[in-house]
Amino acid sequence: MPSHISTTDVVYADYQASKPVDARVVEAMLPYFTRIYGNAASLHALGDEATAALESARLRIAAAFGAQPSEIIFTSGATEANNLGIIGYMQRNRRKGNHVVITEAEHISILNIAKYLEKNGFRVTRCPIDLYGRVSPKKLRARITDDTILVSVGWASSEIGTIQPVQEIAEMLTGTGIALHTDAVAAEGLVPIDMSTTPVSLMSLSSNDIYGPRGLGALYVRKGTQIAPVLMGGGQEHGLRSGTEDVAAIAGMAAAADIMTAEMSAETTRIRAIRDRLVERVLAEIPDVHLNGAPATEPGRRLPNNAHFRFAGVEGEAMVLSLRDKGVAAATGSACSSKTLEPSHTLISCGLLHEEAHGSLEFTFGRFSKSEEVDRIMAVLPGVIARLRALSPLYEAAAPA
């Protein structure tokens, strides 16, 4: 990157990948590094202090999502929560069946967990999505068999922002004995999530996605739902997740949850306005561009922070690199930028052709995004696209009428 651009000047539009930890969260964590450092399992005064902090945090995080404290299990992040929720549930309930249904819009961690299950004697069915990335409850139900014991549907797509009909699916599965797991990482802090009104059995949460510290997450396990641990050890978290709890990080996640409860409504209104302005300007000012996923004008269908475009004739990594040079941080689902040279499975499952999936560019906004950042993006994006289109054998500007 040219040396005159420091990262503090960068327009950061990749909140989906990582969020800054809120300064108020950092403040809440500090005492637990050098002052309240006991192990919650210890029987002395410092241990009791840690226990009190741990359980207070658990209560607040549970309350933020309509759950009971005993239903929250802390993990090292949402990926681990996905492992514990899905593999843990399948292994514990194997005698009832060996089939799990997931969707084609799931996060890569769930897709790879599914592959692991298939290699270990379980069966997996992947339910297709529509052109907006939404899974239909009807199509899901058509894939349920007598051997099905678990369904996993992400609350929303972290890639194209499509919100799934989790409430409808949860109600459809009620009384069937089939558990419902949901990866809520993309949706948390952006849409209301309430376990007391949505009958989900298992839910994966990430701390950083609500501006808490990285390296921490939680699995919600509804009372009555049985899972087996995937990590063995000293038996912490009711035997479901061994390892001494990171009280500092957990205290941070609790502070983040408190802030989320207080500020989510106003915050999402603000973020949505910024996102909508970018979408409006891009669609109006740059030719041959489309928005992937559900229309931004329908709040119930698309997350408020997500703007995912495809530009005809240009490739994603090239766009991200060019934007990097201009001080804008964005992301792409292009094959060239992935570890496997395969394009985003979600975009292909939406029905896009490969060359369309390669031309994708994703902007995601968050708590610290400002409206003028849209102007800064639009000051450079048209030029970036024009330059790459001039280089491209696939793009011919439409001849003037």
Binding site: V320, L321, S322, S338, L341, L353, E355
Partner: protein, 271 residues
Amino acid sequence: MKSTQYTEKTLDHFRNPRNVGTLEGPNVAVGRVGNPVCGDMMDIYIRVTDEDRIEDIKFQTFGCGSAVATSSMITELVKGMTLDEALHVTRADVADALEGLPPIKMHCSNLAADALHEAVKNWREHVSPEDASKKRVDKSCHARPAAVVEVEISNLDEYKGKGVYTRLDDLSEVADQRVVVLDTGDRSAQLAIDLTEHTGRVVLMTTSKEPSVSSAVRSALRLSDVKLLSEAQPLELEGEGELERIRVHDLNEDEDYELTADALVVLEDES
């Protein structure tokens, strides 16, 4: 190593590519390689003198940072060389000139060398740029001539009424669906254009390089939102009780893949 851990030299060629453009006129040949499926496409144009020397060279590339950088670098390396000298430039030469490429990107340098070789080959075989545009060579296979390919979908009848249409009177029936229309002539192409009023996703599938339509319809197609999928042969339909996917044979790549679709229109009696 991250896929974008590029050297400064590579970034320089990405930011300031040399010899971008096309060439026209006498003594020009073009080499076209790649395929949008794998994400890279390169065109290299050469103008050759009577003494078999590359007098001018231009490129156009669809692809990532290293795709642009390797094609830019190879044009810089071979400009002024004789054709035989140019044919000796390898992908290792290109990668070295860029002071290294991430391992996962080495295939890009291969593609640049292939595009150049293809241009030289087309020059020596007197293939004009117009004719070359009708055959794009992919690294992984040999291009097949676009002969008339019979379309025979093995289980078409199974999905009639469940996503397969032989006629479509009420276009709103497929609103918001991913519709594939098989190219059976002007009527099918016109239907595809009309369908764009009802759904954001209309694909016109043809086994040839271009749909078999009149020039008026061809122009209308180009201006419409219809996505053209050429050199694609539908083989089989898939789906749980209704159409969900079409198994397609890519005639250019000689590979099969699955195309997500909710509706397939195969019009009967194209007059």
